[in-house]
């Protein structure tokens, strides 16, 4: 265990969030079994009131997840001085087996939280709580992930022992290295570029069509937005980061969050996360378009979410393309 102030705050924070989600899930379970809109019973009244509390809690949790994701990566970066060979977050996260899973769980929980809030938002637009059961089913599904995150993060911090020799970004993300991350870095640049711009283009076209015409390409857009999220992260590791660092061997996806690179990573990752949440949100709402009381509300929400995704992804593409064009650094030789 490393008693770093940020470690303590992340730890305390995630335990608090975990407790809050568990609390919500407990009432979620009651809602799933006992919800009856027609009944005017005390229980039903209590449950209806609890939904206010739970949506408040979930919005806080969503915001917390976002902050904790970035704080987690930043902390990993700061702690890298404690480990020989670790030069940035990439190395620190690799100190034990729980580092990367924690990060991935944080991303997943953020997107799941976003999905829940989208469902909740739609549900609140209808007079008859049409999505109440689905919403709380999703909450029951989210709870284990949040618990897992708290446990895995706890395990990560508890197993951090300073000075364990770890691979730093140099070796972990080097072309010769092994493992998934190395595979991404080793991915040939040209195909990766084509894949990235292709996926982005397709997503944006589908989104635009859906935004203007409604219907038709919506499901495809939603799926593509998730694929593009993955492709973009891969592209970031494969070639985008390289242009930011102006160093052909530096593929670290975390260092661009640092001040040395003007915190460029924050808008990039925020844009990606926003895009993913918007895209999954659109997809989540599709099965419910037929519900009578939501017939007017859902297409409107979907439109807004689509717009959000489009703007976010375009911002991401613009920033990265700008970096590629306006830097003196050329990758061609490598």
């Amino acid at each position: 265990m490393i008693m770093h102030p940020a470690v303590i705050s992340l730890f305390v924070g995630s335990v608090l969030v975990c407790l809050m989600v568990l609390y919500s899930a407990r009432y979620g379970a009651t809602i799933l079994t006992r919800w009856d809109l027609r009944s005017g019973s005390e229980l039903q009244l209590t449950l209806e009131r609890k939904t206010y509390l739970i949506s408040t809690i979930m919005s806080y949790v969503f915001v917390f997840q976002l902050f904790s994701l970035f704080l987690f990566i930043f902390t990993a970066d700061k702690l890298s001085t404690l480990f020989t060979g670790a030069m940035c977050a990439a190395g620190t996260l690799n100190v034990n087996n729980f580092g990367y899973p924690t990060m991935v769980l944080k991303v997943i929980n953020f997107i799941l939280g976003g999905m829940w809030l989208v469902l909740n938002h739609a549900d609140n637009r209808a007079f008859d709580y049409p999505l109440i059961k689905k919403k709380y089913l999703l909450l029951m599904a989210i709870a284990p992930f949040v618990i897992a995150e708290t446990i895995v993060q706890g395990a990560y911090f508890l197993n951090l022992k300073a000075h364990v020799i770890t691979s730093c970004c140099g070796s972990l993300f080097s072309t010769e290295g092994e493992g998934i991350q190395a595979g991404l870095a080793g991915f040939p640049v040209i195909p990766m570029k084509i894949l990235f711009y292709g996926a982005m283009g397709l997503t944006c076209l589908a989104g635009l069509y859906f935004y203007i015409k409604g219907r038709a390409t919506g499901v495809f857009f939603s799926l593509m937005s998730i694929v593009t999220f993955g492709v973009s992260v891969a592209a970031l590791i494969s070639f985008i980061s390289v242009y930011f660092y102006e160093l052909p061997t530096h593929h670290c996806p975390f260092c661009i969050l640092q001040g040395e690179y003007h915190y460029a990573g924050y808008p990039l990752y925020l844009a990606l996360l926003c895009g993913a949440v918007g895209g999954t949100g659109v997809g989540t709402l599709f099965p419910f378009r037929k519900i009578e009381s939501l017939k007017d509300a859902i297409p409107l929400i979907q439109k807004r979410l689509t717009l959000m995704t489009l703007l976010s992804y375009l911002l991401f593409t613009a920033v990265t393309t700008g970096a590629i064009i306006f830097t003196d650094f050329r990758l061609d030789g490598y």
């Binding site: 102030p5 470690v7 206010y52 509390l53 902050f67 930043f74």
Partner: protein
């Protein structure tokens, strides 16, 4: 736009509701501010020392070799120098002569060091600013030292180090080699320890390994390890202080919970009125959240600003003794303010998240009051 206007309206009400109970809320803000202030002071202070240490100590020797005798630090024979110099990759080996001198009249503990430049200046010393202060001497003064045989030897002060160097050399007394050896009766041909320079930075660990095998009675101390350890130490120190302080945060959270749950009759009635005149539950929750945001933001910003002034303008007069321990010779130094957004983020997490968590349920409870309750009062 309507949304913004609505939030501003609700904020208006939240503010007037806070102002109406100003006594209670002022107490809350004050306690909150003090907590942020203390935590921020600790973070700023330790972070600055940490950064300073990691920057400055890059100048320290790459490897220090100490001889160990029966588990204790012992004098290192000069012949070890040639032995170590033969290790491939070692560029330079030097014998270091230094030690502690306890001055009974002031009760202070000084560090005596022999340097190349001062090696031949017999009878004179250069002293750190802290030494000059504690024994009240200036350049040209004579200071007597009690040698190991009990006699007193006086040295002339030929130089006082600048105040800016206090962080590294406040307690240093620079002395010639002959004076050092005679003062402490240290035998010729022995050194306190040895320092090594290595040709290639990457080979330090390999060299250290070779030293351990070549001279099993020594231990090499690597600069990187020292740097890492300093990092760990200050993390620990601030971490421990924070853990100790968590008690305070906990108490504060309970206090805010209590403040938020124990709605007075007047407050309950107010919530009821809001509900009755057409506010919705989520709007009352929003109002309560705004109250929380106002309290948190005010206290957070105020606490951080005060802490910054305290640490970097006021030399952390309140906490330095805890962190530095007590001693006769306090090095006087002004910390260079290494502050970054990251510290503020960590601080925000440590203070605002527990407070918010503690107030969610109470504000919801206030918000679900039945609108018709005011009619039944």
């Amino acid at each position: 736009m309507a949304w913004i206007e609505k939030q501003r309206n609700i904020l208006d009400f939240a503010l007037s509701s806070l102002v109406r109970r100003w006594g209670k809320n002022l107490a809350l803000v004050m306690v909150y501010t003090v907590i942020v202030f203390v935590l921020a002071s600790i973070l700023f202070m330790t972070h600055s020392i940490k950064r300073e240490a990691s920057l400055i100590l890059r100048g320290s020797p790459e490897i220090v070799v100490q001889r160990i005798l029966a588990g204790r630090h012992d004098l290192t024979p000069g012949r070890y120098i040639e032995k170590l110099a033969k290790i491939p990759g070692v560029r330079e080996v030097k014998g270091r002569l230094w030690g502690y001198y306890y001055e009974p009249s002031t009760g202070a503990n000084y560090t005596m060091i022999v340097t190349d430049e001062h090696r031949e200046n017999v009878g004179t010393i250069a002293i750190g600013a802290g030494v000059a202060r504690s024994s009240d001497v200036r350049e040209g003064d004579m200071i007597p030292f009690r040698s190991s045989d009990g006699s007193y030897v006086s040295f002339e002060v030929t130089g006082v180090l600048t105040p800016e160097s206090e962080l590294v050399a406040s307690d240093v007394i620079e002395v010639s080699e002959r004076d050092f050896r005679s003062l402490f009766a240290m035998p010729e041909g022995y050194f306190t320890d040895l320092t090594l320079k290595v040709r290639n930075r990457k080979e330090v660990v390999v060299v250290a390994d070779k030293i351990r095998r070549l001279l099993p009675d020594t231990r090499p101390i690597l600069r990187d390890e020292i740097l890492r350890t300093y990092d760990a130490i200050f993390d620990w120190r601030s971490g421990l202080l924070i853990v100790v302080f968590t008690g305070a945060i906990l108490a504060f959270s309970i206090f805010s919970w209590d403040k938020a749950t124990s709605l007075s009759f007047e407050e309950k009635k107010e919530m009821g009125v809001l509900k009755a005149v057409g506010w919705e539950t989520s709007e009352v929750i929003a109002m309560k959240s705004w109250e929380g945001i106002v309290v948190s933001l005010t206290s957070f910003l105020l606490g951080v600003i005060l802490a910054y002034m305290h640490v970097f303008f006021g030399s952390s007069i309140l906490f330095m003794p805890v962190l530095k321990g007590w001693s006769v010779l306090y090095p006087h130094f002004k910390l260079v303010p290494y502050v970054d957004p990251y510290q503020l983020a960590a601080l925000f997490f440590l203070t605002v998240v527990p407070y918010t968590a503690a107030t969610i349920i109470p504000s919801w409870r206030a918000a679900i009051i039945d609108p018709d309750s005011v009619m039944r009062l």
